[in-house]
């Protein structure tokens, strides 16, 4: 079965395969960023550059 598929595999399908793969990755990432609790966590992480020369506690 696999062997047959490989034998008839057409290179042009690679572009389609790549496109679908990208779509899947994109949707997965999008879903991941909208998971529960993400926004709160992202808000905190996004502030890391602003407190990186402050001592512990100063940025709280």
């Amino acid at each position: 079965m696999t062997k047959q598929w490989l034998a008839h595999f057409n290179d042009t399908q690679l572009a389609l395969f790549g496109f679908l793969l990208f779509f899947a990755v994109f949707m997965a990432v999008l879903g991941w960023t909208f998971r529960m609790g993400a926004q709160r966590q992202y808000k905190k992480i996004s502030e890391l550059p602003l407190s990186d020369e402050k001592n512990y506690g100063e940025n709280l």
Binding site: D11, L14, G18, V29, L30, T33, L48, D52, Y56
Partner: protein, 722 residues
Amino acid sequence: MENQKSLQLEKVTYDDKIVKAFVLAMLTFAGVAFLAGLLAALQLAYWPFNMNLEWITFGRLRPLHTNAAIFAFAGNAVFAGVYYSTQRLCKTRLFNDTLSWLHFWGWQAIILSAAITLPLGYSQGKEYAELEWPIDIAIAVIWVVFAVNFFGTLAKRKEKHIYVAIWFYIATILTVAMLHIVNSIEYPVSFMKSYPVWAGIQDALVQWWYGHNAVAFFLTTPFLGLMYYFIPKAVNRPVYSYRLSIVHFWALIFLYIWAGPHHLLNTAMPDWAQTLGMVFSVMLWAPSWGGMINGLLTLRGVWHLIRTEPIVKFLVTAVTFYGMSTFEGPLLSIKSVNNLGHYTDWIIGHVHGGALGWNGFMAFGMAYYLIPKLWRTELHSKSLANTHFWVALLGILLYYISMWASGITQGLMWRAIDVQGNLVYPDFVETVMKIVPLYWIRALGGLLFLIGFLIMIYNVIKTIQGAPANQYDTEVQVPVAVGHDTHPEKGHRKLEGLVTVFSVLSLIAVLVGSVIEIYPTLNLSKYVKEENAVEPYTPLELAGRDIYIAEGCYVCHSQMIRQLPGDVLRYGKASTIEESMYDHPFQWGSKRTGPDLARTGKKYPDLWHYRHMIDPRAVTPKSIMPNYPWLADKSTDFVGLRKKVAVMKALGVPYDDNTLAQADVMAEKQAKEIAEGLKAQGVTQDGLERKQVVALIAYLQSLGQKGKNKGVKDDKAVASSL
């Protein structure tokens, strides 16, 4: 915070010295890169600017310029920014001081060796990968040092979360390692000479997979990381949307790696691979602009800082240029636009929009931010920084607009066909003369950019001179517990915090596209037809080819006739995959400052080439091609040919045993025939047969003269019958 009192705190000292060192190195090599660029620009406007010195003739200077800009200027900028921000984002000192300094000195030594070997003509003939094998190994070693130091720092971080900038750095480190290693697999012939294991279309695909992703993962992802760090710092507010930055990251690294084939549109590359490159390049527009918008909107509410703060001016303009380049790139990847733009100055304009506008201005903005901070003082003069900005911006615009005009002029002239079906401008040099005035404007643009930079240097020197004598490193207090989280969230295993998982996922993302992009090379038998096979170069032609590579002829000449009417009418029938099947490295080229040479063999007599090489204007009065008088003085290395042929054979080129054993004798015989022919036509030179120019002529006369095409003199006749 109640639990805070019970925490034990420790002091962390960031390593600011290493950052200072990289900043100074970046500024030093920026000067070198800009100066080399200006000289190269002047040489195209007026060729005698090479002062008849072989070391700075265009073919050798251009690789020096590109390598200096990418690896010395941008490279040192990236290392400075990565080391500065990573320590701070991880709240820890860099992993190991010795590794940091080994990285620093190792990288500078590599740059120095490039600066020596490229002008001497040691080159692999692959763009942005010209450096010979011992330097390639050094690059790999120092890159590993960098990686260990970087990942070691992440491992001992005191901050649990990993900020998005660091993701971009991780992708950079892993992907550049992969690209460099795969593209540099080569077989050494001698201490400073090697042949890549890849040939022809394989080499083309691997090279542009590398070349395009050098832009992606050396000049884009690390700079995006810097953008996500330094713009929030400069305007003192968090990035516009962290969520968008995550989507930006994954979409960008996933898509970028597929786009390499857009450098090979309309060539002999299989159609499906061209479509693949085009589709993915166009898709790339979306994440790129997502990133740009995210960077720009970080300024929400503080747009006035663009007016008052030079740092913000530079950073914001850089991001704007990023947006422009990433719009233009996909545009140029559309096949019909590419027909017009490829091989022309349009591409050079596109590249400089990215390099000067995006990378240059990011690096300058970062330097204006870092230098006063690191040296614990104020910037000497804000108004000089503003002057730098405006002068440099004007420079970029002049550069960009002139190259755009020049590129489109070239593109249109090359393909103009009259009603009878003939080329309107059959004489290539006519298309060159038309754009020389634009070359002067470009050089002026480059000069302005350089002047702006010199203003910056003055400002930096004054700033550092005014710094207090007591220089110290930044210190912060952090909790002793590793990876301490100030808001522990139970039950969430966060991907953003897991370096290893994250690295593996990014590697998979770039590997998928890579495998598919290079796939035809693994499957070459499908595309190479036995009946169209060509025979290998004779030993003398091989020697000539090495001279062609050493002189960097490929930076001005392509060897790939595209499947387009304009190309076919001008140069003969379209190049086939088989015609370069033994080309280690391939020489398809990327720029036609001069005409395509794929079928130049037998187009002119030997004497024409001899005179043309010594002084192109002797045969083509308005040529801008440099003189190569030294080729008539320097001797061909006949003895080394046996080894070269043996290495080629080991790489799969079908040389017979006789050629293997007699390579030098055969070459000397062929050289003698050519030299005698030249002498009969009046060339008077002692020992002509031993000179490089003869080997080069042998090579040029063999182009397009292999296999079925043997003896075909006028390819135009063939072409018009198509």
